[in-house]
Symmetry: C2
Subunit: 173 residues, 2 copies
């Protein structure tokens, strides 16, 4: 309630109306519909969470849940991880991640082992079945969104690719 809205003090802050300040480098894109960074941020945030819900709707009954699959992908592609490392990467608390890991270990998709050098740590690794599941399921899970991304223009696809980088960056800080 008492937090002020940060009147543009940043070097790259824009003066309320964005388009005029742009160096005309993006002619193919339509004008921004947002009057301010606050409005853009608000819109983006709501769009993000609604899209997450939309994607959740799409999941088939026999598939891992979104959280489980995301955690499995991280373990599989980012190598062996401790619980803390995984929970930080997934942006949840260790107890939350532990519950997800329990489900994955019970399904024999992830192996949980004690670290050799530090008895407090556990090392999480994707099992052979876990790695196979990622590879097999990935295309099917992504089919819904991939079909739609495929129908976008090359420019829009470029926008999504760029946005993905920005979103990763935002999620990490």
């Amino acid at each position: 309630m008492s937090t002020s809205p940060q009147p543009n003090e940043q070097p790259t802050g824009l003066p309320a109306a964005l388009p005029a300040a742009l160096p005309a480098a993006l002619p193919a894109l339509p004008a921004l519909p947002h009057d301010s960074i606050a409005e853009l941020s608000h819109d983006f945030r709501l769009a993000n969470s609604r899209l997450t819900r939309r994607l959740r709707q799409q999941r088939a009954d026999d598939e891992l849940t979104a959280g489980q699959f995301s955690a499995l992908c991280s373990v599989y592609s980012s190598g062996p991880l401790t619980l803390s490392e995984l929970s930080e990467h997934e942006r949840v608390t260790p107890p939350s991640m532990n519950r997800t890991v329990n489900a994955l270990v019970a399904a024999q998709l992830v192996k949980r082992e004690n670290a050799a050098d530090d008895g407090r740590k556990v090392i999480l690794t994707a099992s052979e079945a876990g790695g196979a599941l990622v590879q097999e399921t990935r295309e099917r899970r992504d089919a819904w969104i991939a079909q739609r991304v495929m129908k976008l223009s090359p420019e829009q696809q470029q926008v999504l690719a760029e946005a993905t980088l920005i979103m990763k960056e935002l999620a990490e800080n």
Copy 2:
């Protein structure tokens, strides 16, 4: 499992490597790190859900949850809505939305009334307190992301604005 990965048959489908096919309209943006639409879709999906979790982490204890605030914003800015309309907009089932609405009604932020023309329907409207809460809380809730968006380059801000439109479109279909 049996769903095939759709070998680029779409008119706008790109031939596995994106950059070469682009009409050189976006010189300021770096080359795409994705080899295929499947990979972009996968990355984008995971980034989206991780960012949602990151944003959830940011919520203060005395604020509405993400789902409650999103629903309140929809009722407030998209006028009176029936339960079905709201649940479709928020991309959850009517029973799920009903639970959220119950919380908002209990907090006297939303009014639930019977529709005059159709006794089966309910009309949801933001109360005066609900509208005031949206306006008061919005800046504070968005402060975290707005601060970060403010530090992005104008080009990156443009990307986010464009991506927001695409994400809204994706969530609606």
